[in-house]
Amino acid sequence: MTSKKIGDVILDIKNISLRFGGVKALTDISFNVKEHEIRSIIGPNGAGKSSMLNCINGVYTPQEGSITFRGQTFSHMNSRQVAEMGVARTFQNLALFKGMSVIDNIMTGRNMKIRSNLLLQALRWGPAEREEIAHREKVEHIIDFLEIQAWRKTPVGQLPYGLQKRVDLGRALAMEPQVLLLDEPMAGMNVEEKQDMCRFILDVNDEFGTTIVLIEHDMGVVMDISDRVVVLDYGKKIGDGAPDEVRDNEDVIRAYLGTAH
């Protein structure tokens, strides 16, 4: 991998605990994410990975702990505020706008950035038209980048799964996020599709300098592309560090392989 400039801590998660009734989804989790890095969250099924992502994204509100993003500390946030601050995400179970075309789906990602007057937009007039064209150019750039030119007018619901995953990523990219949260972007893909997705993630990280928080089950992928890895098991953090360190961590091996009895 090419050497890249990893910056300061951009996202600092401190002592997060999340409960659903009596179920402890997360217990006292702390870790940080540095600017421009690829940070993976791994762990067996039900370890609390998606819950962690949902806390960062503002979907869940943790009972304890705080999240500091670019120096601002929050204990409670909603999804919209998070989006406004420059955090985008993709979903484990696709959450696309199925009836809308690929272009429209990705355009929704730019919605927050459209500024011109509603009436002018409706009439496609003057500044509104120029703005629309500028946003559309950005969207076309993303479509090129993700190599989905051929399907730009197709309703997303009709696309195969692998392509839908790309559209999901495209919509998040359209927000030009500083931090991109990816929830199992390669789940259910074949080897070739996984390689493509890896390439996209690395390119995004490389070209746009986007910080990436990644949840993934494929260890090969995680160990290959991550700068640092945090390991969760039963809602607790059991490992944190560079891929090699994590791989040799006793607790991690036990969580994945079990212990000898």
């Binding site: 999804s79 929704t108 509603l118 409706a122 619901g157």
Partner: protein, 309 residues
């Protein structure tokens, strides 16, 4: 020939009125994926408000009822419909984010009953009239072509023009603006819409306000034609077959569905009715809708529903 044309035109005019109500349904369905049972109640509520404010406002301000009074009444009623939209969002929809669509559907039923009761309670339950200066006299056209000409109701013609204008505006709004795009996005997936920063609550207030505005237009047109009374909220039931025919997601579909049903109803009543003892008009629309459900469940222009399994 003249009689046939008159029947046809009469059907088209009734059709545009059905279409206007259907637009209200389509609007909310497009923007929230929910069939809004309260649309009829909103029509009644807005018509009642409009009729009463048009009486009260000139009284409060001490002026003669007229154009200014009507305009003020329209503005006040619109504001009231926005308030209703806000209340609906605040107390019902907000709590149903990310829930099953059926929960929202039941909520709209509840809202329908609430508005049906609240309207007469606040504004009175007598029969009121709305007079916004719609011409009542018919005109005769094509005098030279057909003996006696063809009778045309100017009032209906105006209504048709208003309907067309409304559809053009709404289509532009939905297809070209970022708010329109956000509305469609919210209809598809709440969670995804939130994650890209679409403010769900504001979007819902907007869409219910717009539906309230459309309900007001319908209320004024129907109200000035038939008078404002409880049966107005039942007229909305006629729009059900229209949206089935045209497709729940298509604004042009609502128009064309309305026209087909309006014309079909009138022509079948006049030409087939005598053979079977009449009364076709009341069930024709539903029969047609039933056939459509069997053959083309997404309607003429609706998005085809494809589920990947």
């Amino acid at each position: 020939m003249g009689f046939f044309l008159e029947t046809l035109i009469g059907g088209l005019m009734v059709g545009t009125l059905y279409a206007l109500i259907a637009i209200g349904f389509v609007l909310i369905f497009k923007a929230s994926g929910v069939f809004n049972f309260a649309q009829g109640a909103m029509v009644l509520f807005s018509a009642l408000a409009m009729a009463r404010f048009a009486e009260w406002i000139p009284g409060w301000l001490g002026m003669a009822p007229g154009v200014v009074g009507n305009l003020l009444a329209i503005v006040v009623t619109l504001a009231l419909m926005v308030l209703v939209a806000w209340v609906i969002e605040r107390f019902a929809l907000r709590h149903l984010v990310n829930q099953e669509p059926i929960a929202l559907l039941m909520a709209t039923l509840g809202i329908a009953y609430l508005l049906d009761g609240l309207g007469p309670m606040v504004f009175g339950s007598a029969v009121y009239s709305i007079n916004v200066g719609m011409p009542k006299d018919p005109v005769f056209v094509m005098d030279g072509l057909i003996p006696g000409g063809v009778m045309l109701s100017l009032e209906d013609l105006y209504a048709a023009c208003i309907a067309a204008l409304l559809v053009v505006c709404l289509s532009l709004f939905f297809q070209k603006t970022k708010t329109g795009r956000a509305l469609r996005a919210v209809a598809d997936d709440h969670q995804a819409a939130q994650s890209i920063g679409i403010p769900l609550s504001r979007i819902w207030v907007i869409v219910w306000s717009v539906a309230g505005g459309v309900a007001l237009v319908v209320g004024i047109i129907w109200g000035s034609k038939l008078g404002v009374q409880y049966s107005l909220s039942l007229v909305a039931l006629k729009a059900l077959p229209v949206v089935i025919l045209g497709g729940l997601t298509s604004l042009p579909g609502a128009i064309i569905g309305g026209l087909i049903i309006g014309v079909g109803e009138k022509l079948s009543e006049v030409y087939i009715g005598p053979m079977v003892g009449g009364g076709i008009e009341t069930w024709f629309a539903y029969g047609l809708a039933l056939c459509f459900l069997l053959v083309r469940p997404q309607g003429l222009f609706g998005d085809k529903i494809i589920d990947r399994v």
